[in-house]
């Protein structure tokens, strides 16, 4: 027979059980979860700094952003018409006549590409001067790379010794964060991760929600009460005591995993979606507010003076031997898509601000990157559909469409590897691209600055490194550009830096014909007095290692900054007479 006391006890127990089962328990968990999450995912001071590499794999021209060719008013500078980042004018009557220039803006005594003088959009309708980022910047130019080609030079940006450790591997090895290292993008740079003991989490670029992908192993689905009643971790602890001693590290890892399971971190995925929306909007605004010269492509029929080829006349306005007649070129570029970078910047902010990861590598999603995809065109012609005729008497070349030529409607993508991109398109696309990237970069840095770690900020403890395989060498006819592996610009941003600071010497170049086919000042690396050689990738890597507080990968190549003050230890950046 059940006594009244026992009955009350049983009812109380049943009531408690009900409270502890779903949905009551989930409600309790949410309250606990919010408080506990703050402890688990709060930014902290680590042994190393955080590292973000934004890699433009495909190597777009850097003339719009950080290819600093004439840093001071007295710098030797040999101007070439196709070493340009701005369209300054177009003849009203002859659209083939376009004036281009390498435009700069003087900021804090340094002549930087004119983009740095622009105003960029921020969140909530605010605007900012991009030049505010210069306060914590370091630009390195004139780095000469050892190899030709994208893969090896790309890999060196993260792993300077072929097959050796990578910067993100070193950070990962010392990281105590939830995840040691993350990369997004499918290309040789993303695959260059090498570490002694840590793991890289590669996020497939096609994922719609990167955060969900990363946290998927730790997300708790609705399950039976076997696993949601909290007994499992305690039971696991007991049984883990029977594991052989060789499994001690696995036991620790498993305990951590179970802890994260219990904390039920699916709330993060909603946060990430909001971040992605924010950066998408910023990119949209950056493009909408991008002002350049209102340039129109020529229309048919076309006549120019002198004997010229199709490529000579239309090359600057073409891509992949396709010409778009009578086109508002700026509007055409603006119609394109760009948005995977929004998710990548969102991921950087998400991982760093929540202390989920200390090392993030973001790159283009495919094997080579695109500046802009799917620009919507009404009509395009291949060069093979165009006829050129030279009238020797009048000394005039005429271009017209061949009989039976058909308009081709297509969506055009502009690759970073601009071998077949006319100079006018290249200027427009790279300017738009770097303006959008800079806008995202500004927002990311703002958020890092807002995040406090004691008396420092997260930005003080983060190194943001912008890199690509090399800069580009424009052709002499305005159609396309080739790889310039003797020039590898690098930009670094961090709260621990005082800028703007520029390191590295380049050759001023020549307009005369030469074996290297370098015309004008284009950034070819020249020797630095303190090194005895031009800057090498090992010097850049050692500089990054100093900032990151990790051991240098290439010990024989010293850093370019002082280990304590982070100030440059080499001479003021010079343009030296010569070619290469």
């Amino acid at each position: 027979m059940i006594t009244r006391r026992k009955w009350i006890g049983m009812m109380a127990g049943a009531g408690a059980l009900t409270a502890l089962s779903s949905p009551g328990r989930r409600f309790l968990e949410k309250i606990v979860h919010d408080n506990v999450r703050n402890d688990l995912f709060r930014p902290q001071l680590h042994e190393t700094r955080n590292y973000v590499q934004i890699n433009f794999y495909g190597a777009p021209s850097r003339l719009s952003f950080d290819s600093i060719l004439k840093p001071f008013d007295d710098s030797l500078f040999v101007s070439h018409p196709f070493v340009a980042n701005r369209i300054s004018s177009q003849d009203r009557y002859d659209f083939t006549k376009v004036k281009l220039e390498y435009g700069t803006e003087k900021i804090n005594g340094l002549n930087l590409p004119y983009l740095w003088g622009e105003t960029i959009p921020g969140v909530n309708g605010n605007t900012h001067r991009l030049s505010e980022l210069l306060e914590n910047s370091l630009f390195i130019r004139g780095c000469r790379l050892d190899f030709e080609g994208h893969p090896l030079n790309g890999i060196q940006q993260i792993s300077p010794v072929q097959g050796g450790l990578s910067l993100n591997g070193l950070i990962g090895d010392q990281s105590k964060s939830f995840i040691s290292s993350v990369s997004v993008g499918s290309n040789p740079v993303a695959r260059a991760f090498r570490s002694e003991k840590s793991l890289l989490l590669e996020v497939p670029p096609g994922e719609s929600n990167y955060a969900e992908y990363i946290l998927k192993p730790f997300l708790l689905e609705d399950v039976d009460s076997l696993f949601s009643d909290g007994r499992l971790p305690a039971a696991f602890d007991e049984i883990a005591k029977t594991y052989p001693s060789e499994f001690k590290d696995i036991v620790e890892l498993r305990k951590q995993s179970l802890k994260y399971f219990q904390k039920n971190i699916d709330k993060f995925t909603h946060e990430f979606a909001q971040l992605q929306a924010k950066y998408t909007e910023l990119i949209h605004l950056a493009i909408e507010t991008n002002t350049t010269y209102n340039i129109q492509s020529p229309a048919f029929p076309l006549q120019v003076s002198g004997k010229k080829s199709i490529k000579d006349i239309l090359g600057p306005f073409s891509i992949e031997e396709k010409f778009f007649p009578d086109l508002d070129m700026q509007a055409f570029i603006k119609s394109g898509e760009f948005n995977y970078w929004a998710q990548e910047f969102a991921l950087c902010e998400f991982l760093l601000v929540n202390n989920i990861c200390q090392s993030v590598l973001i790159c283009p999603p495919r094997e080579t990157g695109d500046l802009i995809t799917s620009c919507v065109s009404g009509k395009a012609y291949h060069f093979q559909h165009i006829e050129e005729m030279f009238d020797a008497k009048a000394n005039v070349t005429s271009l017209k469409l061949k009989a039976g030529s058909e308009l081709e409607k297509l969506n055009q993508t502009f690759p970073m590897d601009a071998h077949d991109t006319g100079i006018v398109f290249d200027i427009l696309t790279t300017k738009q691209f770097f303006r959008a990237i800079s806008t995202c970069l500004y927002e990311l840095i703002s958020q890092l600055k807002k995040t406090k770690i004691g008396d420092k900020t997260l930005f003080d403890e983060t190194i943001i490194h912008l890199a690509s395989e090399f800069d580009r060498n424009p052709s002499t006819d305005g159609y396309g550009s080739s790889h310039l592996h003797n020039s590898n610009p690098t930009s670094i941003f961090s709260g621990c830096l005082k800028g703007p600071s520029l390191i590295g010497n380049i050759y001023a170049g020549t307009l005369k014909k030469n074996d290297d086919e370098y015309y004008g000042t284009i950034g070819v690396g020249a020797p630095v007095k303190e090194l005895g050689t031009p800057i090498k990738i090992g010097n850049i890597s050692s500089t990054l290692s100093t900032l990151l507080r990790v051991k240098p990968i290439v010990k024989r190549d010293p850093p370019l900054i002082d280990e304590k003050t982070y100030r440059s230890v080499v001479e003021r950046a010079q343009n030296i007479e010569g070619v290469s």
């Binding site: 793991l199 890289l200 007994r231 029977t242 594991y243 696995i250």
Partner: protein, 185 residues
């Protein structure tokens, strides 16, 4: 004697330092054996698609391309996310991600009624939960299973918190599933 001691310390320290985990293909094959064909979806999602976590490069030449993004045998490809999987490590290191994915996989397989019933059947006739039954479950995962009385007793102690037999059995299958020993080679 000194030489013997030196060798002993060296061997045991090497053993303590080095886990050589089997790769994703081995793990998925064992789990499919234990939990049945209906486990395939969970195993593919959590283990096969995470080659960088579990190790196991694929053979890039198995992809016979017949079009820009078409392959002659896409359904049988073991390069699940693309040709870059040929570069995955042969063996994975212990990591938080690996442990989390194993926990998630084992949980899902044990909680799913179809896969759990399949595993129960695999373990043979069930009379009661005793030492021999616990060892039968362990041996499903590990063909080189050696009886570990201490571990068996701890497992039997662990189930005391559960009232229903099914829950007790799920607990046992789960513990065996996540046990690292069968995952080593």
């Amino acid at each position: 004697m000194k030489t013997f001691l030196l060798i002993f310390f060296f061997v045991s320290s090497v053993q303590a330092r080095t886990h050589v985990f089997a790769d994703r293909y081995y793990l998925s094959s064992v789990l499919e054996y234990v939990f049945g064909p209906q486990a395939k979806k969970v195993i593919t999602q959590n283990i096969l698609m995470n080659g960088n976590v579990f190790g196991g490069p694929c053979d890039v030449y198995e992809q016979i391309r017949v079009g820009k993004n078409e392959f002659a045998n896409p359904e049988t490809t073991r390069c699940f996310r693309g040709k870059q999987e040929f570069n995955y490590p042969v063996h994975a290191k212990p990591s938080l991600m690996r442990e989390a994915l194993m926990i998630k996989t084992c949980r899902a397989l044990v909680e799913n009624d179809h896969t759990f019933q399949f595993a129960k059947k695999r373990a043979g006739e069930f009379d009661s939960i005793n030492e021999s039954y616990v060892q039968r479950i362990e041996s499903l995962f590990d063909p080189n299973f050696k009886i570990d009385e201490v571990r068996t007793n701890e497992n039997l102690k662990g189930i005391k918190d559960y009232y229903f037999t099914e829950k007790k059995l799920k607990f046992l299958f789960y513990q065996s599933c996540v046990y690292p020993k069968w995952q080593l080679i």
